[in-house]
């Protein structure tokens, strides 16, 4: 029960309170670039959720078993190489390189999958699917997983919950944005602000609205107790 309520809190926190786009500013490029139409925004959101879940799972596995100080697999290999050694092997200097490798390969995987099973969606994504590799939201999720493994000894279930609901939060934000921008086409926006300017200002107002969720986690924790 304790564990389940922790998962609920993580999910709620990742999706709404600490929304990736509006609180941490990661994933701004697709947020500005693909938010013209609601259906495309939704597709992009789903793709990001999928990739972020895979990438976080893989990076949790790598970090937990290989990269963190005194990780089981590395320690076992080290014992084989130099038996009886008491040195602690720390491979965490390789963290970033491993993460970026994991992300690039999982994006490749998703691209092949979408091209085979959803050709129409693949065509409408165009250049944006490979661009997910350089989407900061995914690396950011991996980095958060890394941080929580070292600080709070998170298990795989918590990491996956965080990643999936962070993706859901991204989808929520980008779909709301696309909905507003569809209406915006009928408005008379001052010429210099057209395009990115007005989008950023709207994002600011959205962020203001999402700030209303802060503190909800505390009352939710009391409720679940």
């Amino acid at each position: 029960m304790e564990h389940l309520s922790q998962l609920v809190l993580i999910a709620f926190g990742a999706a709404l309170i600490n929304n990736f786009v509006l609180k941490y500013f990661v994933g701004i490029c697709p947020f500005l670039g693909v938010s013209r139409r609601v259906d495309m925004a939704f597709g992009m959101g789903c793709a990001v959720t999928f990739v972020v879940a895979i990438a976080a799972t893989l990076s949790w596995t790598f970090t937990y078993y290989i990269l963190r100080p005194d990780a089981p697999l590395t320690a076992w290999v080290w014992q084989k190489i130099s038996p009886g050694s008491t040195a602690v092997v720390d491979l965490s200097i390789l963290n970033y390189i491993v993460y970026i490798f994991v992300i690039a390969s999982s994006v490749q995987l998703v691209e092949m999958y979408v091209r085979k099973f959803f050709p129409a969606l693949y065509k409408s994504f165009g250049v944006f699917l490979p661009l997910i590799t350089t989407n900061c939201a995914i690396l950011f999720a991996c980095l958060m997983v890394m941080k929580y493994i070292s600080e709070e000894a998170w298990g795989l279930d918590k990491a996956i919950t965080l990643a999936v609901f962070a993706g859901v939060g991204f989808t929520i934000a980008i779909v709301i944005m696309a909905g507003i921008r569809e209406e915006l086409d009928h408005c008379d926006v001052p010429r210099p602000l057209r395009g990115a300017g007005i989008t950023l200002i709207i994002a600011g107002i959205l962020a203001l609205a999402f700030m209303g969720f802060s503190g909800v986690d505390r009352s939710l924790a009391n409720l679940l107790k």
Binding site: L32, I100, N135, K147, A203, L208
Partner: protein, 209 residues
Amino acid sequence: MAKDEPTPLERFIRGILPENPVYRQLLGMCPTLAVTASMKAAMTMSGAVLFVLFCANVLTSLIRHLLKPHLRILVFTLTIAAFVTIADRFLAAYMYEMSKQLGPYVPLIIVNCIIICRCEVCASKQPVLTAATDALGQSVGFALGLASIASVREILGSGEWFGLAVMGDWWIDWGIMILPPGAFITLGLLLGTANWIGSGRAKRGARES
């Protein structure tokens, strides 16, 4: 090589204003928004970006004949990741407080579009000197963009600039400016201003000629 290819010096100048990464190309938005709550954080970030962009550009330019087209993005990213690890460790060792404050945004330089874009557009095709000046110009432009946003946010949000009090005691801090919404709104308005100035200049130029 084409005749109207810009010289290294032109590339340096071009990065600062006409092709400013923040205002003109809208690249590298994540750090632009995230670290501009104070000038110190913004300048540290610019320093890190300068180091990574310079090293990555020079290295990419040196190995440009070895690059295979389908693998080049991967090579760029891994090169950048290695330099970012160096920068991150350096910050953690010598500027611990700042490294804590910047947190995950230093590793996020890896996926900063500016660096990959410069590697792809310039460094993978040009000799080392051109690539180096291009990197310097782009990072100075980036630093200027960051400085403008951070100045507005820090002065309005906490009445200080680089930690020095500039507003008098009568000033009431606009708390919202150092929170996330302030970042979005400041950048939106500054972008609008930049476009407005740019379009005014273009009109005048058209009238004179």
